[in-house]
């Protein structure tokens, strides 16, 4: 046993060295046309060696370490806690949600401009994550090209405003519907595919949309993107210092207050908030409707659901289309917030981040997804000195999450009836 452990530990330590030393220990530097090799700093080399030693020791005493970890009594005080009663939990959840919305309403009036801007971004991600939650969490369809629908929404607004001068409020439903239409058209053929094929096809679709946006230079401006996207107006009132469009008035003149650029930021934030709340409520209602139940049924057992008379294509298609619809929503808000969009914003990584939010929060759980969206967007901003390591940590967190807690931080709990034992 000990000998076997020693051999295994030695092997693991050597593998650690082999996979880290060549990449971390030597740096390739371009010098003119040629490339030279430089040794890394001593600290890096020591770090690599230290990692190998730690791996060696851990593997050597693996049984002891794991054994004593298991014997530790009740490290987790919540482990033996009984699950909260359903009615209480629901009440608590809705109270918490109300509190969050109230807090979000007060937020722009107490926070700085940058914080409000960030909060708008958080709300956009909440919309995206809630939409993807329908597709991945409820219907169990892994969509890796979700960002394509987001791009459709954003580009619809940008193009319509550039060529036809369409305003935000008109573009919002058009963008969302067009994204939904894309979802429908893409979904119709591909939803027959099994899980992981679907993932790859949607990924391919996302890439195709991005490449097309990049290359149709005459229409979309290619990699240069589209700028000058107008801000939303409030009943024809503009938020700029001067009125750009004829017939509009400006917000500060109408109300007789001093012009401030903050008004626009706050207004956009409030729009995003309203849309996010609408998204959350709409999806919450859908979840309890027959179609929502059908999504879950199909996710749990396709064959059983089919044999009970559910149309697989129709149910999946509805989830896909509704998910795409909300992505289009978010895209329009995003275009209006940035004022400028380019294909750079719609890369695969963005899809992966949204997916990570859904997974982190707990697939299917709305509350979890909202909290995860807040965490994933705000944490990198707080830890700016680690910004280099952001994506590294992000990738590692995805893997660790899947290994240790695949159901997410706040797993979805279905509403159910509990039968009491007969007396």
């Amino acid at each position: 046993m000990a000998a076997h452990n020693l051999k295994h530990a030695l092997f693991c330590a050597i593998v650690t060295l082999v996979i880290s030393y060549p990449i971390l220990g030597f740096n390739l530097e371009s010098q003119g046309t040629s490339v030279i090799l430089e040794g890394a700093k001593t600290s890096t080399v020591i770090g690599v060696l230290l990692a190998a030693v730690i791996v060696f020791l851990f593997q050597l005493f693996r049984d002891n370490v794991m054994g004593s970890l298991r014997q530790l009594p009740a490290v987790n005080p919540l482990a033996n806690r009984k699950p909260m009663e359903q009615s209480r939990r629901l009440k608590l959840e809705s109270a918490l949600l109300t509190l969050m919305v109230i807090g979000a309403l007060i937020w722009p009036f107490i926070a700085s401009r940058g914080a409000v801007d960030l909060a708008t971004l958080v709300l956009i991600y909440i919309m995206l994550a809630l939409g993807l939650n329908v597709v991945v969490g409820l219907a169990g369809l892994l969509d890796l090209g979700y960002v394509a629908f987001y791009a459709v929404g954003a580009y619809t607004f940008a193009l319509l405003s550039q060529y036809y001068g369409v305003s935000f409020w008109f573009a919002l439903p058009i963008g969302a519907l067009l994204a939904a239409l894309f979802g429908l058209v893409l979904g119709f053929p591909v939803l027959r595919l099994r899980g992981d094929y679907l993932a790859i096809v949607t990924l391919g679709f996302g890439e195709i949309i991005r490449i097309l946006l990049n290359n149709m230079t005459s229409l979309t401006g290619g990699p240069n993107g589209i700028g000058g996207i107008p801000d939303p107006t409030l009943f024809g009132m503009e938020f700029g210092r001067r009125v750009k469009e004829e017939g509009n008035t400006s917000f500060h003149e109408t109300f007789g207050i001093a012009y401030s650029s903050e008004h626009k930021v706050i207004f956009l934030y409030l729009i995003a908030l309203v849309l996010a709340v609408i998204t959350a409520i709409a999806i919450r209602r859908l979840m309890r409707m027959p179609v929502g139940r059908a999504w879950e049924a199909l996710r749990e057992d396709e064959i059983a659901a089919k044999s009970l008379g559910l149309s697989r294509t129709a149910v999946k298609l509805s989830a896909f289309t509704i998910g795409a619809f909300f992505a289009g929503f978010a895209g329009t808000v995003f275009a209006s917030k940035q004022g400028f969009i380019s294909p750079e914003s719609f890369v695969f990584l963005e899809s992966a981040i949204i997916l990570a939010i859904v997974v982190l929060g707990g697939m299917g759980s709305q509350m979890g997804v909202i909290l995860a969206a807040i965490a994933v967007t705000i944490l990198p901003e707080l830890a700016r000195e680690f910004s280099e390591y952001r994506m590294l940590i992000f990738g590692a967190a995805m893997v660790l999450m899947m290994v240790w807690r695949p159901q997410g931080l706040m797993p979805m709990r279905r509403i159910h009836i509990e039968l009491k034992p007969q007396e």
Binding site: L28, P189, L392, V403
Partner: protein, 307 residues
């Protein structure tokens, strides 16, 4: 005549790229054949192979060793060792603990691993693309001197030969060796193979190692062919190779070879006759079409759904 030469040139370019796609695709197809998951991090393993071989080549140059066959072989061996270890470690850390859980869980874990590895190399080596030295220069030319000439560079020939050798070794390994036989058994029925005394964990690790080693070969070859590498170039190549694997029928090794060649030719024809920017659109479009009309791929076996 001109047109024919041009066509042949595209065909040669396509087959060159396609044969390297095939090398990467084998890693996808073998892993999928055995545990039914898409190893999303495979493209990154290929990228790490390319980086390691470049590090080895530069290191040897710094030591003053310039005899080409030696440089190439040392670079190849270094890349294969590092990539295989990486493949083994990735399976151990990210895939084994989630094996057998819901389909989406290993896939998401793999996406996380892919992001992690990309940024690992990005942090260690910088995000700029780094030039690969021209080790093999020159080539054969055909056609009249004053018009279009079809050329086959020596590097293309090297790629063909290396790929051919790797494929032959792999085929022999799978059909003759003990581990190869075990691999086939495990891919047919994992549970049954386990009952019959095959250490399935070991075979699964072996699959990852073999796939990673072939990806490392492709990394060196494509690095030399394209002339520069960067931490992101594994992602698209990985997708292409996966497309190739699906095209040929996922789970089938000859299918991966065929799919890689078809995809490479389709791409080079697109860039030769339409525009280079749309070659990715064509390959993903091809993937979608294949999945719609023949989800089992060209050489794949139909999957029977058991209830």
């Amino acid at each position: 005549m001109q047109d024919l030469l041009y066509f042949i040139q595209q065909l040669i370019n396509g087959l060159t790229i396609g044969s390297t796609y095939a090398l990467i695709a084998i890693g996808y197809t073998m892993v999928y054949g055995i545990i039914g998951m898409i190893n999303f991090a495979h493209g990154e393993i290929y990228m790490i192979g390319a980086y390691t071989s470049l590090i080895a080549i530069t290191g040897l140059a710094a030591l003053g060793i310039a005899w080409l066959p030696l440089v190439l072989i040392v670079a190849l061996i270094c890349a294969m060792i590092v990539s295989s270890s990486m493949g083994w470690a990735v399976e151990r850390v990210a895939y084994r603990p989630v094996r057998g859980k819901h389909r989406l869980i290993p896939l998401i874990s793999a996406i996380g691993m892919s992001i992690f590895l990309q940024n690992y190399v990005h942090l260690a080596q910088g995000s700029r693309n780094i030039g690969f030295p021209d080790l093999i220069e020159g080539g054969f030319r055909f056609g009249a001197a004053d018009s279009f000439q079809t050329s086959i560079s020596y590097i293309q020939i090297t790629i063909f030969i290396t790929t051919l050798v790797c494929m032959t070794i792999l085929s022999l390994f799978i059909s003759r060796s003990r581990i190869g036989r075990a691999c086939r058994a495990v891919s047919q029925d994992l549970g049954m193979a386990n009952l019959l005394g095959i250490d399935t964990n070991r075979i699964i690790s072996a699959t990852f190692v073999i796939g990673a080693a072939l990806a490392a070969v492709a990394g060196l070859l494509l690095g030399m062919y394209y002339g520069s590498i960067d931490p992101l170039f594994g992602f698209i190549a990985g997708l292409k190779a996966f497309t190739a694997a699906v095209l040929g029928g996922i789970g089938s090794i000859p299918g991966a070879m065929l799919g890689g060649l078809i995809l490479g030719v389709a791409e080079s024809m697109t860039s030769g006759y339409l525009s280079g920017e749309y070659k990715d659109v064509v390959s993903f479009g091809l993937l979608i079409l294949i999945l719609l009309f023949k989800p089992t791929g060209l050489l794949g076996k139909p999957e029977v759904e058991k209830i």
